[in-house]
């Protein structure tokens, strides 16, 4: 038996684990004493290793490169040389015909790690010559990145995960840590036991609401009205820190002009929160010694995601609850390396290390380092991931390089996304599984899986940690960074790296804030928290100490905006609000967790629609029965969970189910400031199904057909290519 150090590939908590290997197979996982997890792991960390072994519970792994010689042809296994030559030729043709901006790429915020993403964006910028690179933060914490960069100068958590238990007040808005990050929830439980106050603002009575000192059940889609009222109380009750505002912020007068109008009474009808409760919460948050303000998708996946983040930042600033240990803002990132994707410049306006593509000095620096003429580096912002459907329809995007994501499962309005992917001239998918998106691809590149490669992940609180390979690559799988390098070389921009260490040193040399994060420092359970400019000095657990922000004049900018109601409100035909949420046992598109025996046993298709007992009763729906859920976009079958914790008038579904697929119901409307979909608010209706036996069989038939289709697409890899004579 051997043990190999790794970092859990699921949420952004960054838990250090050992993978246990027997006879070349990963057979278990054990928690290590990492900085964030302290020897604990949740169920995904414990049982989430199984997929590496290709269990084929959900979908098979891909071991060989495959191509479709023309649109609509069957997938065909080819040699790596042929697959790379074919792809290079097609990409060069598209670039020559339509220009570099007709090619769009997305990074992977999951298993590949920072080095693979860095090489991909280098390929995108130096070889393809575009900034059309994005990552799934677009659909999750994009508004936090943008909103916090606007106001505080950096788009990450200002405090670190261990500090959560040192706070004397933790306030959560639209964030359910027990399902999203159990390891963070553990810190909140510990904080509570040490005497911290807990305030929970969420339409659902989520797990943390049970232990909350104050629970504010605000109405779905009312965030900004609520936050503005909260801010209003801070001023009217004299709860603000005048010295902090004076010395460390700009724009208070302007901010107040908007906030002044939002008394708790004026928005009670919108938020559903009694004015007195808003006042109690504001007092509790502002008067506590050290307050942490945490939020999640409940804030960001809304029409006014960025503006709500502006207000959250303002609340922390006007009360001086930021820039001290255990006082600050905590947008806890969803996927294990979504912080890393942003760190590595998988963002259409940013180079690695948050250096702007619009800056001539930055372009000069990268051009010199990468040995390309500066004119070759695009000077304008690229497309966002959510621009893809429109970009394809309008004929601006012709090729899409999908790296370890499954947009057909995770992006809103699946039917529209499917049409988008089918209408591309070239779809390249680099993955470890035959996902629904990969099944449509013209080129399939098999990457190595987490557990088969080395690298660095960035945890949600800016903590870089190393992970290592436990088992060798399977079949013909290659490391992602090798595939990008080989493709780039064939397209006329040669790249070669020996290992991830060499890539990481290049990252460090180009990003001053990451320079001190050496591989040596991150040996074993070591870590490095950015900003970390100096290899000999520790990193930065708490940002903005003493109120020094990362804006140009080091002062925070207070921003405020008026509340606007959600785009699609319930009506007679679709009387319920549909809100997409996360559930603890599965992750992202489920290709990984769905292939783990224990996790699949604990929760499987078609998933659930959670609804209040009252909404279930009027529809004649009983707990655990299969039901139809339909919206203007589509109709899916799923199972009802009649749940006392759910507010009346809203139903909740998780986005990882392939049959009970809520993204067939959601709409493609985005926050104009971030391009993030409004996944938290659309209209739907739920209907009972009388013939439950038919429904049970129907679910199994749909599930079987889908799994069979994906398995048969993957089966092409079992036919060896005929050698050319």
């Amino acid at each position: 038996m051997e043990k190999h150090m790794a970092v859990c590939p699921y949420c952004g908590a960054g838990c250090k684990i050992n993978l246990v290997v027997e006879n070349g197979k990963v057979v278990g996982s054990e928690a290590l004493d990492g900085i964030t997890n302290q020897g604990e792991v949740c169920l995904k960390g414990l049982a989430g290793y199984d997929f590496i072994n290709d269990t084929k519970i959900l979908v098979p792994r891909i071991y060989h490169p495959m191509i479709r010689r023309e649109k609509g042809a069957e997938l065909e296994r080819v040699t790596w040389d042929e697959a790379l030559d074919f792809t290079a030729k097609r990409l060069l043709e598209i670039k020559a015909t339509y220009g570099p901006d007709s090619i769009m790429l997305t990074g992977s915020s999951r298993g590949p790690g920072n080095e693979a993403n860095f090489v991909m964006q280098k390929f995108t910028r130096a070889c393809v010559g575009t900034n059309n690179i994005d990552n799934c933060a677009r659909t999750c914490h994009g508004p936090s990145v943008i909103g916090l960069m606007d106001t505080l100068g950096s788009g990450a958590m200002s405090v670190s995960i261990p500090e959560m238990e040192e706070a004397s007040c933790v306030m959560l808005v639209g964030y359910n840590p027990c399902d999203s990050h159990p390891i963070v929830a553990r810190r909140i439980v510990k904080a509570k036991e040490k005497g911290a106050k807990v305030i929970v603002c969420d339409p659902r009575a989520i797990e943390t609401a049970r232990i909350a000192d104050l629970y504010l059940p605000l109405r779905n889609g009312s965030n900004l009205a609520f936050l503005n009222a909260f801010a209003n109380v801070l001023v009217t009750e004299g709860l603000i820190d005048k010295d902090f505002i004076e010395q460390h912020t700009n724009g208070f007068e302007e901010w107040w002009k908007t906030i002044e109008r939002y008394t708790p009474e004026s928005v009670e009808e919108i938020t559903g929160i009694a004015p007195d409760l808003v006042r109690q919460a504001a007092r509790m948050y502002a008067t506590s010694e050290r307050s942490i303000l945490g939020w999640g998708m409940g804030v960001t996946q809304q029409r006014q995601g960025v503006k709500a983040v502006h207000q959250l930042a303002a609340i922390a600033c006007v009360t001086g609850q930021i820039g001290r240990r255990a006082a600050g803002v905590a947008p806890v990132r969803g996927q294990n390396n979504v912080q890393g994707s942003c760190d590595m410049g998988m963002w259409p306006s940013l180079y690695p290390g948050y250096q702007k593509v619009s800056s001539p000095e930055t372009r000069e620096k990268f051009a010199t380092a990468w040995g390309v003429p500066v004119e070759q580096l695009s000077d304008h912002e690229g497309y966002k991931l959510t621009d893809l459907p429109h970009g394809v329809k309008s004929g601006e995007i012709h090729a899409f390089y999908n790296f370890g994501e499954d947009p057909l499962q995770t992006e809103p309005d699946s039917a529209d996304m499917e049409e988008t992917l089918k209408n591309l001239d070239l779809l390249i998918s680099q993955d470890i599984f035959m996902t629904q998106t990969t099944a449509l691809a013209d080129v399939v590149f098999p990457g190595t899986s987490w557990g088969e490669h080395d690298g660095v992940f960035s945890a949600s609180d800016r903590t870089f940690q190393r992970f290592t390979a436990a088992v060798p690559p399977k079949g013909e799988c290659r490391h992602d960074w090798q595939i990008f390098s080989d493709l780039s070389t064939r397209m006329g921009y040669p790249m070669h790296y020996e290992d991830t260490h060499e890539i990481w040193d290049e990252v460090r040399s180009l990003c001053p804030n990451f320079y001190g994060a050496t591989y040596e420092r991150m040996e074993g359970v070591g870590y490095a928290q950015w900003p970390i400019p100096d290899p000999d000095k520790p990193g930065t657990p708490t940002m903005y100490l003493g109120g020094t922000f990362n804006t140009s004049d080091h002062r925070a900018i207070l921003m405020a905006a008026d509340y606007v109601a959600p785009t699609e409100m319930p009506d007679g035909e679709y009387p319920l609000v549909l809100c997409t949420v996360r559930e603890v046992g599965h992750y992202s598109c489920r290709s990984m967790t769905g292939n783990c025996r224990t996790l699949a046993l604990l929760a499987d298709e078609p998933g659930y629609v959670h609804m209040s007992p009252a909404d279930a009763e009027v529809r004649g729906i009983k707990d655990q029965r299969l039901v139809w859920v339909y919206s203007r976009r589509g109709k899916v079958i799923t199972r009802a969970s009649v749940d006392e914790r759910i507010n009346e008038g809203t139903v909740y579904m998780t986005y990882q189910w392939w049959i009970g697929k809520c993204n067939q119901l959601t709409m493609h409307v985005t926050d104009p400031l971030s391009g993030t979909p409004e996944d938290k608010h659309s209209a739907c209706e739920v209907a009972r199904i009388d013939d439950q036996m038919w429904a049970e069989k129907h679910v199994q038939t749909l599930y079987h057909d889908l799994k069979s289709r994906l398995a048969s697409e993957a089966a092409a890899q079992d036919i060896e290519p005929v050698p050319v004579a």
Binding site: V189, K190, R210, G585, T598, L601, L602, R645, Q692, E696
Partner: protein
């Protein structure tokens, strides 16, 4: 003396890590993978519920084939001897018996269940063609000298093994558990009130 696993509901975050640890541990030693705890969530309480290894264990008393016995203070089912009559599940006052079996779906080819009953049906009534059901219940991970895996896995130390020493020396903790157990059993209180 009997031993059992108790839950501190204010610490339970409802994450299900105990269920996963239970399933992994038992599957790896060739026992049924069905978790031997259930997660109960009401408006005010979250708790993992499992066997109390009662002194006068009704399950043990009703078993017609003596598949249930007491081993070292814990009530234990011999999964090979069990005939799947479910009498023990009917008798259990805590709902701690999980009738379950190994599905034949996937034995030859792709796993494709052919349901013959709605999933919401009581596990007492479920019967799947080709599946031999047995009574699956907490065995305190008796195969592992290090004790119950759920207790070790719990992130927030909400689960605790109550054995002789702890129970004898810490009466106040016992009273606290007792109060919380009553709350769970009666479900009369809700600390969450919507305004």
């Amino acid at each position: 003396m009997n031993r059992f696993i108790a839950v501190e509901t204010d610490r339970c975050i409802g994450c299900g890590t105990c269920l996963a640890a239970c399933s992994e541990a038992h599957r790896k030693v060739g026992l049924q993978a069905e978790p031997r705890l259930s997660l109960v969530k009401t408006s005010g309480v979250s708790a993992a519920v499992t066997c109390h290894h009662c002194e006068g264990a009704p399950c043990l008393q009703v078993c017609p084939v003596a598949a249930i016995s007491r081993v070292d203070g814990a009530v234990y089912v011999n999964e090979q001897m069990c005939i799947g009559c479910k009498l023990c599940a009917v008798a259990c006052p805590f709902g701690a018996i999980h009738p379950s079996g190994t599905s034949i779906a996937g034995v030859v080819g792709v796993a494709y269940d052919t349901p013959t009953f709605p999933a919401g049906m009581s596990s007492l009534l479920k019967w799947e063609i080709g599946v031999t059901t047995c009574a699956v219940k907490c065995d305190m991970c008796s195969f592992d000298p290090e004790g119950p895996h759920c207790v070790k896995a719990c992130l927030t130390d909400a689960l605790r093994l109550v054995d002789g020493d702890a129970a004898m020396t810490d009466a106040s903790i016992r009273r606290r558990w007792s109060a919380q157990a009553s709350e769970l059993a009666m479900r009369t209180t809700s600390r969450i009130r919507r305004s």
